[in-house]
Symmetry: C2
Subunit: 120 residues, 2 copies
């Protein structure tokens, strides 16, 4: 048995030049949005994830194309997710896609999408 049966993974673009505070905001946007989607549509997963202590992992993508491919697979699997687009008030151009949040969902299912990605 895994330590956490449910998890949420945030995939952050490494090809953008974001500071640590900026990254934290993008990850938190994704986490809140995808968790809220899960609460509405995958209530049992959301409950179990919160009860376990809301396991979160942050990994990296090398490009926006990698983010789009992951989002496509996430949608195919009907997992809760959130694509984060920056407003561009600081550091980035408006509309820049910065992060994809996947889950919360069962760890093996999430890992089938993101298990090969390195920690940020």
């Amino acid at each position: 048995m895994e330590l956490f049966e449910f998890k949420q993974v945030m995939v952050v673009r490494r090809d953008l030049d974001m500071g640590k505070g900026k990254i934290a905001v993008q990850v938190a946007h994704g986490a809140v949005s995808a968790a809220e989607e899960a609460r509405r549509t995958f209530k049992a997963w959301w409950d179990a994830w919160l009860k376990e202590g809301q396991c979160k992992v942050v990994v990296r993508a090398e490009s926006v194309e990698e983010i789009f491919q992951l989002e496509k697979r996430t949608k195919e699997l009907r997992l809760p997710s959130a694509l984060v687009t920056d407003r561009g008030l600081t550091q980035l151009e408006p509309g820049t896609i910065t992060c994809l949040a996947i889950g919360p969902g069962p760890s093996p299912l999430i890992d089938s999408l993101t298990g090969n990605l390195s920690l940020l």
Copy 2:
């Protein structure tokens, strides 16, 4: 009028040696937990904050004492908040307090607590 009438602020301890991924996870934990408290107990603020695009700001504290002082004021003002304690699986000792999330709430009220803190 401010750009965002409602905001959520995460105060991160700078005296801990956390990497950017670790920081992002702590901030996201706080954001999800405090947002969920707001959804349950300050629904109008939560709705307005989401509608505006869930403004989030990450600032820094120099010590755990500063976090505790802020938490005390936050509780006195009856604002939604979440104190984040790390499990200590990586980088930190178990039970280390890493972050305080405040809000979402009206920006002037949140700023009265955190407006003097520097961005992370």
